[in-house]
Structures are given as C-alpha cells and as structure tokens.
Amino acid sequence: MDSTTHATMLGSAAPNAKSPAAANQPLPPLKAESRSLSFHYGSFQALKSVDMPVYEHNVTALIGPSGCGKSTFLRCFNRMHDLYAGNRYEGQIVLHPDNTDLLAKDVDPIEVRMRIGMVFQKPNPFPKTIYENVAYGLRVRGVTRKNLLDEKVEDSLRSAALWEEVKNRMNEMGSNLSGGQQQRLCIARALATDPEILLFDEPTSALDPIATASIEELVSELKRKVTILMVTHNMQQAARVSDYTAYMYIGQVVEFGRTDALFFKPKKKETEDYITGRFG
C-alpha cells in the first residue's frame, strides 16, 4: 500500500495537523492495518467495519468500555478466534511489508501465530520449567540445538528484564515466580520467536501497581524491537505507554490518533466524554 491511499484511509482519524507535536512528525511506516474488518460470534456482530493502522515500532493502545470489542479486535490479529466454532471474519488485516492478508482463507492461522505473538490478561506460564516455558516457541519451530536454545532463552529473558532474577533458577517451575515475574516470563516466551507484532491483552489487569509499572516500562522498551498493539482498560496506562490510541465503542473505532492528541484534543465528543470520565 502506498502512502497516498494510506493517508486517505486514515481520513479524519489522522493526527491533528494543527497540533504542533504532530505537525513536524512524519507518519512512521505501517506494520499492519485492518480494512473494513467485521467480526461475528455466531449471530452477534462484535466488530463493525473497523479500519485502523498499526505503525511499526510504536505502541498502539486500544481503549474503550467493557464489551466494546477491543479484545475481539486484538484477537483477530493472531486468528485466536479460529480456535472456536461459529466465529466469522469479514474484511482484511494486511500485514506489511509483504501485504499478507492475515484473515485470508488460504493463510494458515498457525503461520499467522508464528509471526505475531501474544501476551494474555492473566499470566499463563505453562506448568513447566522457566527454561522450557521460554524455549517452547522455538521447539515448536523445530529448534533442537542446545546452544541455540540457550542463547535465545537468555536473550529473551534479558529483553523481558527477567534474566537477572531467574538466571540461577532456570529449572524451577514458572509458577513459582511472582505474578509480575510470571507476566514477564510470558513476554519472554513470546519474544523468543522474534514476532513481528506483539499483542498485549490487558497485560497488567491481574498485577499489583509495582508489577504494573515494571511491565509498562518494559513495553516502552520493547517497541524498539517489535511493534506493539495493546488492549488496556486503564486510560492512564494508555496515556503513559502508547504512541497511538484508538478509542473503541460498540464494535467500532470512534477515534484514532496520536496518543497526546487524542487525550488532550479529542476530536469527537464521545471520546472526550470517555477520557474525562463522564462515561464508561
């Protein structure tokens, strides 16, 4: 997709030209975009023609009230909905630079999940050792060489800011770690396979404030390596860590823009009501 159609597609959702911060910044390269994406759980339509870009090496936050479809939208990116019967997609999610439509019938969801990682709401380490948790994605990809596994496990744990805490405990069970450490273990597990996009589904909702702060710091660090798309129910969190924010309501993206613009100068009345706490 070239830059002209890209800008057209953004339409009113493009960053506010009058905002001094946004005016000087050229748009970063696109990593992915949803094109008129609709999603149905059986007869219930959860997403209604969503168009939204995801920029490379940026953090994009999805905010909105419960049930607005933000998690549903996120889970389209790694075809998680394919695990359950009766779900149906319409439209496209195009992954750049190769222009693959992730939702196409002939694209294997497993191949999609090999390119796009995910971190869940509740830390979900496997009941295996710390080492095996991180190595699992590599094992699935057929990596068996011990030194390569060791190297990738260490790299990923370092990237997830967990290495120093667990380097002498590699054979302990992942479940022995604290909640925040478990979530960082899950991040390391997702990073080990070098995903192009990392999806976070309310990654701190089960954590205490200190663990939350460390995850947020980590997310800001990680965007140098990987593109991040994150669902959060916490607006302050979106404001703190994201570069772009989409406000969703009843299956639609109401407003999308640079986070500073969206929070300080929302263009839509609904967005303003939500972020000022008058609604939601």
């Binding site: 998680m80 695990l83 497993i110 191949e111 990682g117 396979t193």
Partner: protein
Amino acid sequence: MGVIAQNAAEVRGLIAKGRRWDTIFVSLGIICLGIGLLTFATLFFDMAIDGWSRLNPEFFTQFPSRRAGQAGILSAWVGTTLVMLVTAFFAVPLGIGAGVYLEEYAPKHWITDIIEINITNLAGVPSIVYGLLALGLFVYAFGLGQSILTAGLTLALLILPIVIVATREAIRSIPGVIREGAYALGATQWQTIKDHIVPYSMPGILTGVIIGLSRAIGETAPIITIGALTFIAFLPPAPISDIAPYISFEWLKAPFTVMPIQMFNWTSRPEEAFQHNAAAAGFILVLMTLTMNGLAIWLRYRLRKHIKW
C-alpha cells in the same frame, strides 16, 4: 417490632438459632460417614481374623489343593496380575485416545452427542453383559479361547468408559488460557495435545485408570462367563526364556484363574477349613485394591505438585 433485629440479645439469639443447624448437620454427616467406614472396617477385620491362620508365605507360593491346609493362591494372584497387565495395556491407550479425540478433535454435533451419552451409559452396564459379549466375540468369533488375553480384553472393555470419562474430565480442568498460550506460540493442535494437554491431564487420567483397575480386579461375573477355571495347579508359561527368541507371548493363551474366583470356589466348599482360606484370600484382594488406590492418591499428589496455574 421491625424485621431487622434491634438489640444485641436479639442478634445473639438469631446467631444461636443458625448455629443449631450447623450442629445438627455435622452430627448427621458424622453418622453417615461412620456407617460407611464401620461396615467396611468390620468386614475387613473379620476377614483378617478369620484368615489370620492361613496368612503365611506358603499361602502365596502354593497351588490350590483338596487339603485346605496346603491350598494357596499362587495361580490366583499370578492370574490376577497378568490379567490386570493385559487390561491396562489395552484400556489405557484406547481410553486416553478416545478421551482426547472426543474432547479435542470431535466436532460438536448430534453424532458426538450420541457417542457421549453411550459412553456414560456404558459405565453402568452390568458386568455380566460384558462377559456375554466377550464370550461371543473374543472366545468364539475371534477364537482367543478361555485365556488370559480374553479376560484382559473383557475387563479392558469394562473399564474403558471409566478411563474415557476420567480423561475428559482431566482435560476439561485445564484452563483455557494455557491452551491458548500454546496455540498463540504457533503450536499445531497435535503439538498442543502432546506437549500440554496430555501431560497436564496425566494425574487425572492415572487416577481414573487405577480406579478402573481397582474395579476390574474384583470382577468375577464376566471372568466366569468367559470360562476361567476354578481349579488350576500350574502357572502360565514364562514370558522370558533362555532360548531364542527369548520373549514368548504364550502366556496370553494360557488358561487361568483370578483371586475373586479362587475365593468364590473356596466359600462354596462345605469344609470349615476352606472358609479360612477364603477369608485370607479376600483379605489379600482387599489389600491389593487398597494398595492400588493408595498408589493412585500418591501418584496424583506427586504429579499435581508441579502442575499449578
């Protein structure tokens, strides 16, 4: 006076009234538990006392005999052990396979619904019916004879529903996020099953297997139906020999007897002395069952220690 208690005395009265029901229920519960435990303990100790005189090493190393004092349970316990091995060998992989398929792969429609209802009902079919089925199928149609193999297959059929149900329950207890976690890393369905679903449900599956085997070990009716012997004074051929090919499966075709049949045989004798033999054999059989149940509890504890979510 209002609906809500006004003063401290009234509040205390209300609490006391509520507590009375706690006391009543706890007493009832203890009585129910006591009836069950006492009945079993009485049976168990009665057998132990009756059979005590016969519980010596020779009892385990001697074949049955016309003289009660020389009769032992060698052929019975060897037969029971071998039949259980065959039962486990067939029931475990079949049960786990069927359970995994139904839980993970089977599409949800009316055919699977019917299969599901069938399996649950199979667990309640009287064991004599399995015996008749086995007589027609294994003994006559397949020509397997009145052998250890036939008995093992019959009991495997009998406990298959137990293993399948236990497998499915165990799989269902795995949280969805663990499964999604595996898929999210790009695992295929088979990788998810082999690396996660089956290992994490192993404690539950093993418990089901052992509970099934504990049921099978005491089964008499289907074994009699397929024609197990009541008096046998030789052992099946040994599985290992010193001449090539060293391993032999002849024992599978051998005639046999099992513990409950040996017991039944002795209790039907008129001589008083055989009653002591029967009591002693019963005591051993109960011990075997209790040991298996103990093993199930221990295994479940050991394996579950590491499986936390």
